[in-house]
Each structure stands twice: as structure tokens, then as C-alpha cells.
Symmetry: C2
Subunit: 300 residues, 2 copies
Amino acid sequence: MNVLVVGSTALDSIKTPLREKPRLLGGSASHAAVAASFFAPVQLVGVVGQDFPRRYLELYRKFNLDLGGLQRLPGKTFHWSGEYEINLNNRRTLKTELGVFENFRPDLPESYRQTPFVLLGNIAPNLQHHVLDQLRRPRFVIADTMDLWLNIAKPELLRLLRRIDALVLNDSEARLLTGLDNVIAALPAIHRLGPPYVIVKKGEHGSILSAPKGLFLAPAFPLAKVVDPTGAGDSFAGGLLGYLASQPGPVERNLRRALIHGAAVASFWCEDFGLARATKLARADIDRRVRALERLIRTT
Amino acid sequence: MNVLVVGSTALDSIKTPLREKPRLLGGSASHAAVAASFFAPVQLVGVVGQDFPRRYLELYRKFNLDLGGLQRLPGKTFHWSGEYEINLNNRRTLKTELGVFENFRPDLPESYRQTPFVLLGNIAPNLQHHVLDQLRRPRFVIADTMDLWLNIAKPELLRLLRRIDALVLNDSEARLLTGLDNVIAALPAIHRLGPPYVIVKKGEHGSILSAPKGLFLAPAFPLAKVVDPTGAGDSFAGGLLGYLASQPGPVERNLRRALIHGAAVASFWCEDFGLARATKLARADIDRRVRALERLIRTT
């Protein structure tokens, strides 16, 4: 089944302790959509400016993304610059130039409105609402968010939580959202805000799924070298939802393996800058790493 | 089969953001030995002073610890005071009074020298060597350590690593030992120093076993409330080794489930101060939590 991904489509200038890469293809929607495309047909919703390189459109097409929902507006593409600290766990935003993103209004083409699996990537909650308003009874909606919206748009975000199936967030966002320092204690508090499914991303420490039938502790794939973690969280969510869309049967039954698939995908994302590793990735590589992850957590 | 545990036997004065508990029974050997005793007969090696409360000897006896190797010397018992920060992840030592521990020389009673499973708890590496020198062909030796010995007794520690089967350490110690920031990259470097098994403790994020047959990622039991994490790492190692000693068949085959048992035991340790939760614990409680942990990582 199809997957709809909305979020930012951006140019990323990334500095790590070892290297610097200017104007890579980035943004939450780019990473999530490419990740999901390994499993299911993907419809992309985003906005780019007139400076958006033709080769990046070709990159989207290489992954068979439906670009009917990608607007091209007069002005510049959203540009983010960031720098990672030595251990790559902490990053610092150097510059954010919103460009055409400032006036982004995600209007969906008619062909997108019946899509069953929806990822509301990290954008302003009012835009996430606007997408939901145009959809006809989606089957499973995942929303991602960030600390910024928790700080400046909390009422809209809280209203969104009552309209989605699953919230994906990292541990510090879980603390910020609930005021609770213990992530396990924060989970029931987040469920009370609406979503029946909550997925907490913990980077190299894996992720936690909290579902009506209980918790699942998903591992991260152990990497001896991380080159650039940008987009790892987005590719995790995209891979997870793409896998769900590709599987028969109820979502609840497929969710644990979906987290494992998301973890496998995200690990590849960390192995090179931007989407560089993704362009050399085959579905068989992902499946191999999924099997490796399953062996890594087998108790016998 | 029997387990020998050597380490510190101390009085701990612990401050958490909510409470303060003076002169609890503590020390690496106390925690590890009590934890191991749920699975196998335990022989304790340690030293206490004349101020060591009789009720703590009774507590040891309640767990059927063999106290033939517990020396009682003129002077004061080792006393440690520490304070935890608000999230209980970081602690700060307020005071360390070595007392009789300063002259500790772990001489083993004859009845201890053939014990097959040995835990060299966190004490000076030269004392760990002294214990090994007295043992007749132990079957499996685990050593724990701490940053202090990495800083002040590295040559003795490096020599110890060539004499043991397994090293247990936390992620920051793994970095300090190898100079490598990435824990996964540090593992092969630690194996090259000697131990065929390395176990990295990551607190609430679980643990990693690195063995000749590959990695195992063990979960931590998700706790919504941690009261006092003191002794969690020691109880993890003790529970792990006690379980190993209780199982037939090769150690390699039982190690993954041993980490799960260690994790289950350690989670109870965090639920109250010192050994308070342990005194109310039954083997059936541990087994129930082991089964819960196994469900939490099942992918289907």
C-alpha cells in the first residue's frame, strides 16, 4: 500500500569533526521518503525553491517517489547548516534559512488523499493538521516532532496528538512534553494525550515501542563507525512506516518488526553523509541487517 | 556449582534527591554475593572492621553466604558516602574512608580454592591477582574494575586482563581503557588485551556481550521509578555469574540468558536503597522478570 510523507525538503550543510559537506539533499521528508521507498510506493509532499538542483529531483525519481505533491516556488530552498561535536551525539545549528519553506502550505493533489499510511514529518503542527484535514480516513498516521514545536506551538501539537495513531519522538522530547525525567514513566503520560502508539528514539541505544499490548525494546544496529547521523531519525520513521505499508495483516502485529526494519535502515543512513549511502543501498542489504539484528537479540 | 565473590564490603551513606540513608550495607562484594546467592552457593571474600554491625552479618547469613573468607580486623569498616544527581544517572563521591580496607589482603580459606566460578569484584588489580594466584584452575573468571584503577594501576590491570575469561565494565571505562570513543569499536581492542568475553554495562540502556561467536544486545528492565542505583552493576555481575554457575552445559551457551538474569536482578536492586529490595526478593520474582524481559525483546 502507498505511503504519504510530508515534511521539510532542504539543503543541508553539515560539518563533522572530520569533514564538511555543503548543500546536500536533506530535510525530514527527503530522508523519510527515500527510506520508505525501499518497501512501498511513496508520495512526497514538500516545497523547494528555484535554486533546488536538478540532480536532487533526479535522485528523488531514482527512488520512484511520486513528486506530484512537491511544490516549486519562487525563492530559495530551505537551507540548514549544522555542526556535530566530536562524538557525533550532540549537534548545534549554525544557520537556518527558511526560504520558500516560510510560506509552505502542504496542499495535497487529489491522488494523495486516499493514501492509507501517512508520515507527518517534523514540520509545524498547524501544517501537520492541514495535511490531516485533506486526508480521507487514513489507516495509520505517524507524526514526528521536535523540541521547537513543544516550545512555540504546544497547543497545536497537543491537539494533533489526539488525531494520530503514533507519535515518534526522542527521549529528551518525551521529557519536555511530559515534564517527567524518567522515559518509562513518561510513556503512559503521552498515551493520555492521545496516541495509542508511542515510539521513543534513543539513537545508538535503540528505541522503545509503547503499544496497547505493552512495550517492545528495539535494538539499534551496533556501528563501529558513524560518519553522519543526520536524517537517521527520519529514515527510522520512514523505514518503519514503509515496512508497515508493505505487510498484510493488522498494524499491531507488524509493529515490532517494523521497528527492527527502521533500525536497520537508520544504521545505513549513519554510514555516510546525507543520502549517499541510501543511493547505494539495496533492499537485500536491509533484509540482511534485519536478520543480523534479530540474531543480536536472540537469547539462545 | 559454587561461586566465589571477592570485593569490597562496606558501609554506604547514600544521598538521593529525595532521601538520605546512612551506613547501609554496601560494597561490590556484598551486592554481587547476595545477587549470586539467588542461583548458587556463594563464598564471600572481604574485610570488615570492629564497627561492622552484627545485623549485617546476619543479613549475609540470611542469604547463606559462606563467610569463611570474611576477615574481621581491628579498625573501621570501609565507609563510602555519595550523592546522586536529580536523574540518578550521575553520582559524586562525598567521602571515602578506607579503614581496614587499606590493609586488605584477600587470603582464601582452603575450602575456597577449588571454586569454579569466580567474580573478582571492583578492588585494586594487585588484590585481584592475589586471589587468582590462590585458585586451582577456576572454570570461569569474571573481573570488574573502575576508572580509578585505569588511572592509577593500569599495568597491573592490563596484566590481569590476560588472566581472566570475562571483563565487565561500563561504557565510559571502555573508552578510557581503549582511547576509542565508539564502544563498538572499543570491543575488539579490549579482546586484544586478553579477555575472550567482554560485557559492557550501559545502565538503563542495557548491556552488550562481546563473545567469540559475536555480539548479544541485552536489554535493561524498563523501570518507571529508580530509587537508588547503588550496587546495580555489582548485582548484575553477581546475578549473571550465579546463573552461569547454576546451569549445565558450556558457559558460552548460557551467557546470553545469564545477561538477562543479571539485568532482571539489577532492576530489583534499583527499586530500593542498598540491599533493602534484595531482602524481600524471591527467586520466583527474578524468574518472572526474566520472562518479562524475554517478551520485551521478542519481535513477533
